[in-house]
Symmetry: C2
Subunit: 290 residues, 2 copies
């Protein structure tokens, strides 16, 4: 039984738990009421039966699809941190899409099999999502077949989203021109090559573009999207299901908080990747007139 | 070029950055000097050449292996959050091991291909690591071939480790009897069935057993292990590389901080899984005399 089925069967199991759903100020750092209109201080509608009232989770009646570009050389955590949360938000599915269903290798050598090919899902995107990666990114930036597919999906997508260097791929497809965008700190500045405006934030929303930091950023990214697409209650439930109570031992996760020498080492290690990306970006910019 | 190669080639690139490596009190919540002996206030040894001195990262000369049990029904984030960090700690490799190299499906339907079979790596474990999962866990608890393999690996392993409900699998193999252990909050209490002592903590270390919370807990788990197996500098570098600066919108990641109704729903959703696990645990306890 998956989460959606479980949620839907809760009523049948006689569990009535939705009447006291509130998030106190201590439990959320986001101002209440939430921008999506959910107000935890408002009790359930009179007459609604709590055993069958899933309105507290704001699950849509129409199934939603997250089209996730699953390319060789992506960063597994950029993908999985988002996928594991988004696929459980109720009446949604995450499709891992690539040219073929052959297993692809990630940038840390975990092999993942795409669930669908481009032709299978191009008209169904609620969210078009491109996870970041390292060496694989410049190959995708150089591949018009992939970029054209993204453009096609983007036309129908409600949100166009990325983690880490995935924003560079969106940029190459011309989907971030004139937009503020986030990215992995090591390559974020290169977004300017596509006319995007790099912003040093964990999550950046500009109209329907939601771009985020990479790797571990995928978790915050997904919980943010769940809050927007569902509500704070569903995000709270998924934070609990995924035990999201980080215990940060080394608060060195950004170049501003890390010791300078550590930052310089990481920067130096990415010099080759940046050169490769610069070349791919310049070529895509001219080729595609971005 | 992978991280290890990059680290090793830093000298050749003329980058001399290791002389000023210090973690200030503001950057770490862990008391200094670190238990592994690294003291950031001590300058590099006189006469050492900073361009080639990697001693600040405490990378061992002997290659280390993380044997990771990669079973159908595991939770992808339990695995990937740890793998993506551990494989980059320098002179280490994470092997994804199962009975065959056929693609396995995780509990959220991401398909992952194991890198090795049991016979390939049984004598090489520096860390034996079992990620958590949902439905897949009771199958593994019922599978003596897998449990026997874990027992064999454990004999040579320096650390025996798990995330989430992976500790139940270690328990079934008899590897946690008399040990304190962590687990996913929804099934942690069941560890007592194997004579382990469940502890409500994100990371629990008891002698050479390191068990942790599930899903997002895998990131804290891996950074903790890197701190122990390398040092605080390497952990800081990997926190930076993985942009580990969590921005928690909903601090509802434990049953103590989540609204009661959300906790009750998650609990209710796991009732079937708990029944299944209880049965598998009872059977393994008798069968294997744990």
């Amino acid at each position: 039984m998956d989460r959606r089925q479980a949620i839907q069967s809760l009523g049948a199991a006689g569990v009535s738990i939705v009447t006291s759903l509130t998030l106190s100020d201590a439990q959320t750092t986001r101002p209440q009421p939430h921008p999506n209109g959910y107000d935890p201080t408002v009790p359930p509608r009179p007459g609604s039966h709590p055993r069958h009232d899933m309105s507290h989770y704001n699950i849509p009646t129409q199934r939603q699809t997250v089209i996730t570009l699953t390319y060789p050389g992506l960063s597994a955590l950029d993908l999985v941190g988002a996928q594991q949360i988004l696929c459980r938000m109720g009446n949604a599915e995450v499709r891992l899409v690539w040219k073929t269903k052959d297993v692809i290798s990630t940038d840390t050598d975990i092999d993942i099999r795409p669930s669908d090919t481009f032709g299978d899902v191009e008209d169904e995107a609620t969210i078009l999502f491109v996870p970041g990666g390292s060496t694989g990114v410049s190959d995708v930036i150089g591949d018009d077949k992939v970029l054209d597919y993204l453009v096609k999906c983007a036309k129908k997508a409600k949100y166009i989203a990325s983690t880490g260097s995935g924003s560079l791929i969106l940029g190459a497809a011309g989907l971030l021109t004139g937009y503020k965008a986030a990215g992995h700190w090591t390559t974020r500045d290169l977004l300017a090559g596509f006319g995007a405006h790099p912003v040093e934030q964990r999550i950046v929303t500009d109209r329907n573009r939601v771009t985020a930091a990479g790797c571990t950023g995928s978790i915050d990214f997904a919980l943010h999207l769940v809050t927007v697409l569902r509500n704070a209650n569903m995000a709270a439930a998924l934070a609990l299901a995924n035990e999201y109570a980080p215990q940060v031992i080394h608060s060195t996760g950004t170049p501003r908080t890390a010791p300078q020498a550590v930052t310089e080492m990481e920067w130096a290690m990415n010099a080759g990747l940046r050169d490769e990306l610069r070349e791919a970006i310049e070529s895509a910019r001219i080729r595609r007139k971005v």
